[in-house]
Symmetry: C2
Subunit: 144 residues, 2 copies
DNA sequence: AATATAATGGATAAAAATATCCACTATTCT
DNA sequence: AGAATAGTGGATATTTTTATCCATTATATT
């Protein structure tokens, strides 16, 4: 459904958000450990999220990654997905046609549109903030 | 959502099914032309579908690919997807965790489960046969 | 100012997915 | 039997995705 990069991106964001709510910045190492991801690769992904202003990064000692507490509640799953994977999940054709729409649809266009719309609605509804809760309670996990 | 191989596989199947209903076998070249896909790569995919008994292939002159007319109506989209992409679409974790279930869920487990189940139901309901109709009428397309 | 810390950016490397090539087998037709 | 047709299987190439390495920049602390 999503690229590995995007999966790491979402998992990272949930972890960072949770720690930010507890007033803590986290280092790259912390993140990679928490979500069990390759460190250097995770770094690239966090850089991307930083450029999209989804997370903050600070250099130097006392530095690290964080999310603004006030804005945190506004960041939706969809922001992360489109930052990393683009909008293919929403608009791309299920059968890979470059252009596929009402007027020139692929044979599964309408069937997929329904699913896609539900996925879109879900991603645009769920906040990263809300996902930190079960993780914080130990009821949901970010690594195996 | 699906791999390119799977997209080609579905498009091929719709084309082959439609031609089979008209009593025609089609060659690899025909298929690749009809769905605008790389010929040799498409060959590999058709081989796979053949091994899974989703399509028939016959060698020699008068040979080609076809689908049994009686069974044709029974083949669901899900058969093709799981033949080519496996069952990751149905069972895989949205955040890429190796094991993710009710007892040890990722933070988006339940939100994704809903979408996944709808996708699964859709794929298990739609027959290839039904998809040939709009294509035959020129109301749906398999290439740009 | 010197040192240590932590993210950044660019260059590579490794792995997986996509795509191509070609010799081979099976089949049909003459 | 010989020639032509069409799928098969194995090896290889290309592209994309995933992953690593390391020198550099920015910041804080002593």
């Amino acid at each position: 459904m999503f690229s590995k990069a995007c999966e790491y991106g979402i998992r990272s964001s949930i972890f960072i958000a949770g720690q930010s709510k507890a007033g803590k910045k986290v280092s790259l190492i912390d993140v990679a450990e928490a979500i069990e991801s390759p460190t250097a690769y995770t770094s690239k992904i966090l850089q991307k999220l930083t450029r999209y202003n989804i997370i903050n990064s600070d250099k130097g000692p006392t530095g690290g990654f964080s999310m603004d507490k006030k804005e945190l509640a506004m960041v939706k799953l969809s922001s992360i997905v489109s930052a990393i994977d683009g909008d293919d999940v929403y608009n791309g054709c299920g059968l890979g046609l470059k252009q596929c729409n009402e007027f020139k649809p692929c044979p599964v266009h309408n069937h997929f549109k329904k699913i896609r719309n539900e996925l879109k609605k879900m991603l645009e509804t769920i906040t990263i903030d809300s996902l930190t809760e079960n993780y914080a309670k130990g009821l949901a996990f970010l690594k195996n």
